[in-house]
Amino acid sequence: MFGIGMAYVGLLILLPMAALAIRTAQLSPQDFRRVLTSAETVAAFKVSFGQAFLAALFNTIVGLPVAWTLARYKFPGRKFLELWIDLPFALPTAVAGIAICGLYSPRGWIGSCLEPLGIKVAYSVNGIFVALVFVGIPFVIRTLQPIIENLDVSEEEAAACLGASRFYTFRRVILPSLKPAILTGFSMAFARGLGEYGSVIFIAGNIPGESEILPLRIVHALESYDYNGATILAAAMLLVSFIMLAAINALQRRHA
């Protein structure tokens, strides 16, 4: 039975990956130069990696206190909050996209408040950031929460007995032991944000060279039957994200 399962994984997942690798290997250096040095591609790389990084960073900074609250305190409505934290996992990305677009468009609930201030969210890079924050919320919180629940409280007690303030204990005792989990949550949110397509295309406005993400460039290449271009973009994206994830992994092992 396990053999059938492995054969299935091989056919369904590894075979298509191999097709991409073979196709990439067959392309000429000129093709790579043409696709990778075009101004739109460079801009899309910057937008995709930049916004995915910022959104993951935001989710990490904001997610840590939320995870702490959910793990340590007992208060009415805690279960209710936990339920909602998982919603971005379960909500189809098209729904997330349309929801955020409606909310931040100049006529939407939040968009109409921001417009007089001169802040444009919908149909700009800021829209990408907002969408990626939404889809990335559960990763950091869900990774951190069980770790915080299982922290050894006696270390905190020791620090308190030795006269450390709560803030000092947090910075010097608690935070270091959470570091690997923070990195894991960050990298998961980052990877998800980098590949995200459905929710972003609704709100980004998709202006080439300005608010166009890499996955959308791949779709555009496919629509104009530029299969080589799409292959190169996909391979480059996979390569860069694998390198980044490997780097985060190495960083984690050093801290663990």
Binding site: L20, L91, P92, T93, A94, V219
Partner: protein, 290 residues
């Protein structure tokens, strides 16, 4: 987990706690509940007639049917295979277990658009496979089989990832005892392993179903967006949105939003069941199933 609360000296001052709790509520309300409420509000903006028009149109009905059909094919296959994989990874002595786990993570870390591209490269017109298939009159890309393959790819790991920690967690004593007493592997699985993992299996299945019905990127690339033929419900939402019909698109989207809520409710129920089991049965004893 609340042992810190009993000792005030090692917990935060009350004002800080209240602030943090307020922050958590604000976070969830602003970033998660508000977008959710806004879809529903947009769908209802022009009254309930929007729902009637949207769900009466033949394109929407076809999209719903297609989405259900894909889920009906993809979910059972991935549940069975996922269970086999989880069983193999936890019960067999295998070289390269970490490699298998890494492969199981692949569908999560590859962009959905790239998943679609993979299948176009493998089975599209320009590939060797695709040319052969086309000469035999079999159409995969821009047709149902392509949609199914893309969905299978992105939903593959859910069940296995949910079951592996569960199967690793509980002791193998009962299975070994059953084997010594002469039970076949199917009977062991049915009577001993399955009752242990059933809530995890159910939750994995629900996640898999939600993703199968909600997948957008991978399906968008291989579908070719032919309305009334290869448009699934999420793709239909986008098509309506591109037409500038925000409230119609939101009405179609709220059906999908319901799917998200159902899976969350199911998660809560499985969580409660699991906790009840853990409370009533001390772990590691042979009598725990009775």
């Amino acid at each position: 987990m609340n042992n810190s609360n009993s000792l005030t000296s090692i917990s935060e001052p009350t004002w800080a706690r209240r602030l943090l709790i307020a922050f958590a509520f604000l976070h969830v309300a602003l970033l998660i509940m508000l977008p959710f409420a806004s879809v529903i509000a947009q769908a209802c903006a022009d009254g309930l007639s929007t729902f009637r028009t949207v769900f009466r149109s033949s394109d929407t009905r076809h999209a719903i049917k297609l989405t259900l059909l894909i889920a009906l094919c993809a979910v059972p296959l991935n549940v069975v295979i996922g269970t086999c994989l989880a069983w193999g990874v936890t019960h067999l002595k295998l070289p390269g277990k970490r490699l298998i786990m890494a492969v199981l993570d692949l569908p999560f870390s590859v962009s959905p658009v790239v998943v679609g591209l993979l299948f176009i490269l493998l089975l599209g017109k320009n590939s060797a496979c695709g040319a052969w298939l086309e000469s035999h009159g079999i159409k995969i890309i821009f047709a149902f089989p392509g949609l199914l393959l893309a969905t299978l790819f992105v939903t593959m790991p859910f069940v296995a990832k949910e079951l592996i920690p569960l199967m690793e967690g509980h002791s193998r004593d009962e299975e070994d005892a059953a084997r010594l007493l002469g039970a076949g592997w199917l009977r062991i699985f049915w009577k001993i392993t399955l009752p242990e993992i059933k809530w995890g299996l159910l939750y994995g299945t629900i996640l898999c179903t939600a993703r199968a019905m909600g997948e957008f990127g991978a399906v968008a690339v291989v579908s070719g967006n032919i309305r009334g033929r290869t448009n699934t419900l999420p793709l239909h939402v986008e098509a309506l949105f591109q037409d500038g019909e925000l409230s119609a698109a939101s009405a179609a989207a709220s059906l999908l939003a319901l799917l998200g809520l159902v899976s969350l409710a199911a998660r809560t129920i499985t969580d409660i069941r699991k906790r009840k089991r853990e409370d009533s049965a001390p772990a590691g004893s042979l009598t725990q199933t009775k």
